[in-house]
């Protein structure tokens, strides 16, 4: 589905991403993980075409991304960011359907689709006429997901979609998101810095540091055969405080 070949990116003098290769097969759930500034968000934004690579190519279903075709290709990618990125001046309904309406999709198709998605995201009908400012953080992320799924994309890109939520809501939404992904069977690429979330969602985890991919594989592989000490450190660093708490309770 997605082939990334020797893609690199610099911001001014600072390299954000070293030349990188990555392949994402269809139907895969892939999680990009790593500490802040490791290049995971840069990689996701390159895939969405929001920034252009300095070198290398990105091929989406056999088509090489370029500034000419990016607008068409984006219609086949759904994109969800932290805090949702909803348009504050539009209602939930208008936020979700903005692109479909721009493309002059059939009105009854739009109605049908938004009902379907509202059910999927478990948002009640009356919420469709609210404005983003009238929603809670979790509701906003559900709307953002609806908007990303509106045109039934082949690829779903999520940039720390749950990063701004408090832990309880985050937990609840993690469960639901996983169920939705399972139901839809779409290719998903998610960025997170939370190892537990990554292990929960990802068939494949791609651990990055300083613009390089350190190791890619299932969580088990990373945990059991770390490619370098950093992999172990990264996993332990997030597991250790919890383990200590559990220990203390005994």
């Amino acid at each position: 589905m997605l082939v990334i070949s020797q893609v690199s990116k610099r911001y001014g003098d600072a390299p954000a991403l070293a030349p990188t290769d990555l392949q994402v097969p269809s139907g895969e759930s892939l999680v990009l993980i790593g500490p802040s500034g490791c290049g995971k968000s840069t990689l996701l934004r390159l895939i969405a075409g929001l920034i252009q690579p300095d070198s290398g190519t990105i091929t989406f279903e056999g088509t090489r991304l370029s500034s000419e075709n990016i607008l068409q290709i984006r219609q086949r990618m759904g994109y969800v960011i932290q805090e949702g990125g909803l348009f504050p001046h539009l209602t939930v309904r208008d936020n979700v359907t903005v692109m479909a309406r721009y493309l002059h999709r059939d009105a009854s198709w739009i109605d049908c689709r938004i009902n379907e998605l509202a059910q999927l995201a478990r948002l009640p009908e009356e919420m469709m006429s609210r404005f983003p400012a009238e929603l809670s953080g979790g509701q906003r992320q559900r709307v953002s997901l609806m908007r990303a799924l509106m045109l039934d994309p082949d690829l779903l890109l999520l940039d720390e979609p749950l990063g701004a939520l408090d832990p309880m809501i985050r937990y609840e939404l993690q469960q639901e998101l996983k169920a939705i992904f399972g139901q839809l069977g779409k290719t998903v690429i998610m960025v997170t810095h939370d190892i537990a979330e990554a292990a929960f969602f990802g068939q494949t985890l791609v651990l990055m540091r300083d613009g390089h991919i350190v190791q890619a594989g299932p969580f088990k592989e990373l945990a059991q055969t770390p490619a370098e000490p950093f992999v172990e450190q990264f996993i332990t660093a997030q597991r250790e405080p919890m383990a200590q708490l559990v220990e203390a309770l005994r």
């Binding site: 607008l71 068409q72 219609q75 960011i81 909803l86 504050p88 903005v98 721009y102 404005f131």
Partner: protein, 509 residues
């Protein structure tokens, strides 16, 4: 000889008539006269208008335009056909580079520019240096040279006198005057400064009515510094073809107005509050037995006329500014390289003093409404451009990126997402521009565009607070109304989602 001349003039006139009817059949001959921003000039201007009308030709008077250069350039470009001028000003200021000596040389220089000059009207309105007679008595000051012994005196001169080569700079050098405290201000305000004692010495025009009224003494020009300022009428040579009878009328004024007469007419207007038009008509009746039919507008008629003029100035310039500035603001926000250039140029325009901007427009667009509208337009750009730019730049990157990620093309993003979100900022910029525009438009009376500035200028000239308020209050009210109008528009335009307070809802998902 005379008969031949007359036939020649008639033939010329006939030819001119033919040319006129052929070339511009739609435009009937009309004459526009101008006057400077002081009472004597306005009275003479009214006189010229009355005279031109006597011949049956339509005549207009652009009253109290802002300064000698404005009138001179307007005359050269044909915006006006005639205005009263002084030989001293022509020799020492306008044509000073030519170093002309005699009246014949002056006439020659004017002819080369397509201009004519009547013979002197009969009074010499030279500059004089004056102060309260009582103070002069106390300090025993009789001549300008005597001022050298009193460096503590505060000097205040009319803005023109302050800057003219033949004004203060030359005077100071000529007499080696030591005073440090010298200010430039409006000539008519200087009299009030003298009266209140904040100023001690000022420049006078010899025929000013105030000399007697304020009990001033003109100090003797013992070094003969000031040239002779004989009043003349300047007119375009083509008036002799277009309307020879008007040119003849103007020339009838030569030698007919002596200094006491002019001084008396100035006093009638400035001290008795008679309209210039009536004073000018009274003189023509007395001197030439001409019955001038003139109308004095009522206060309401003037009010509506000024309101209409002001609304046209503001309406056109502000609408055009909105139409240009919003796209320029968008361009500045979208194009990284163009942004600083657009903002920089608009910023520089804003730093030009508004009065100077008005005057800069005259060579391009003449006098009256068009240059004023252009200047107001340029002046209104910056707040709108800057706010449009800031409004677009302040949209959170997450929202811009979300719109991009949806696949919306650039134009659609602008229309559907970015402009609605920048509405409040853009409207705030428009409101700022509107208020500045309404206020600045009052200055456009200086270049003959009328509006609420007209009664303000006349009020300053005649020292009439009531007249000043007749312009100042409506201008302030108009500014408030325009702002209110845009508040209403904002209520209609601002998307509902942006009016909701974010803190209202905090329920769990």
């Amino acid at each position: 000889m005379k008969a031949k001349q007359r036939i020649g003039v008639m033939l010329l006139g006939f030819c001119a008539l033919l040319v006129n009817t052929v070339v511009s059949a739609e435009a009937p001959v009309s004459i526009t006269v101008g006057s400077k921003g002081f009472t004597e000039s306005v009275i003479l201007g009214e006189m010229l208008r009355h005279l031109a009308r006597q011949t049956g030709i339509e005549a207009h008077h652009q009253r109290q335009l802002g300064g000698t250069r404005v009138l001179w350039n307007a005359l050269l470009s044909g915006e006006i056909d005639a205005y009263p001028e002084y030989t001293g000003t022509l020799l020492q200021e306008i044509l000073v580079k030519e170093n002309l000596q005699t009246e014949a040389e002056l006439k020659q220089a004017l002819t080369e520019r397509g201009l004519r000059m009547t013979s002197p009207l009969g009074f010499n309105n030279t500059y004089a240096i004056g102060m309260k007679a009582e103070l002069a008595e106390r300090l025993k000051l009789r001549t300008i040279s005597d001022l050298k012994n009193h460096p503590e005196l505060v000097l205040g001169f009319g803005s023109e006198f302050m800057d003219r080569a033949d004004g203060w700079p030359g005077l100071q050098q000529g007499y080696q005057l030591p005073q440090q405290n010298v200010r430039g201000l409006d000539h008519d305000l200087a009299y009030r400064g003298i009266e209140s004692g904040t100023l001690h010495v000022t420049d006078l025009y010899a025929t000013d009515a105030e000399i007697a009224y304020y009990k001033l003494r003109a100090l003797e020009d013992d070094l003969n510094y000031f040239p002779v300022y004989n009043a003349v009428i300047l007119y375009r040579a083509d008036v002799e073809q277009r309307a020879p009878e008007v040119a003849a009328m103007f020339n009838r004024l030569a030698g007919r107005i002596d200094a006491p007469t002019m001084s008396r007419m100035n006093a009638q207007v400035k001290l008795n509050g008679e309209p210039e038009s009536a004073v000018a008509a009274g003189f023509l009746k007395q001197a030439f037995n001409l019955d001038v039919d003139y109308q004095i507008q009522s206060a309401w008629q003037r009010f509506w006329q000024h309101t209409g003029e002001h609304l046209v100035l503001v309406g056109i310039s502000l609408s055009a500014a909105i139409l240009f500035a919003v796209p320029l603001g968008i361009l500045a926000a979208r194009r990284e390289r163009l942004g600083p250039i657009v903002l920089g140029v608009a910023g520089i325009l804003q730093t030009i003093p508004s009065l100077a901007l008005f005057v800069f427009m005259i060579p391009l667009l003449g006098i009256g409404g068009p240059p004023a509208i252009m200047a107001l337009f340029l002046y209104s750009l910056l707040p709108i451009i800057r706010n449009t730019y800031a409004g677009l730049k302040d949209i959170p990157p997450a929202i811009v990126e979300s719109a991009q990620a949806l696949g919306l093309p650039s134009r659609a993003r602008l229309r559907i997402v970015e402009l609605p979100l920048a509405t409040r900022a853009i409207l705030a910029g428009i409101k700022t521009s509107a208020v500045i525009n309404v206020g600045t438009a009052a200055l456009s009376a200086l270049i003959g565009a009328g509006g609420y500035g007209q009664p303000i200028l006349t009020g300053i000239r005649l020292d009439d607070i009531g007249l000043i308020l007749q312009g100042a209050i409506p201008a302030a009210v108009l500014a408030l109304l325009v702002q209110g109008l845009f508040e209403l528009i904002e209520r209609g335009l601002l998307p509902k989602g942006l009016r909701i307070q974010t803190s209202e809802v905090k329920s769990a998902s």
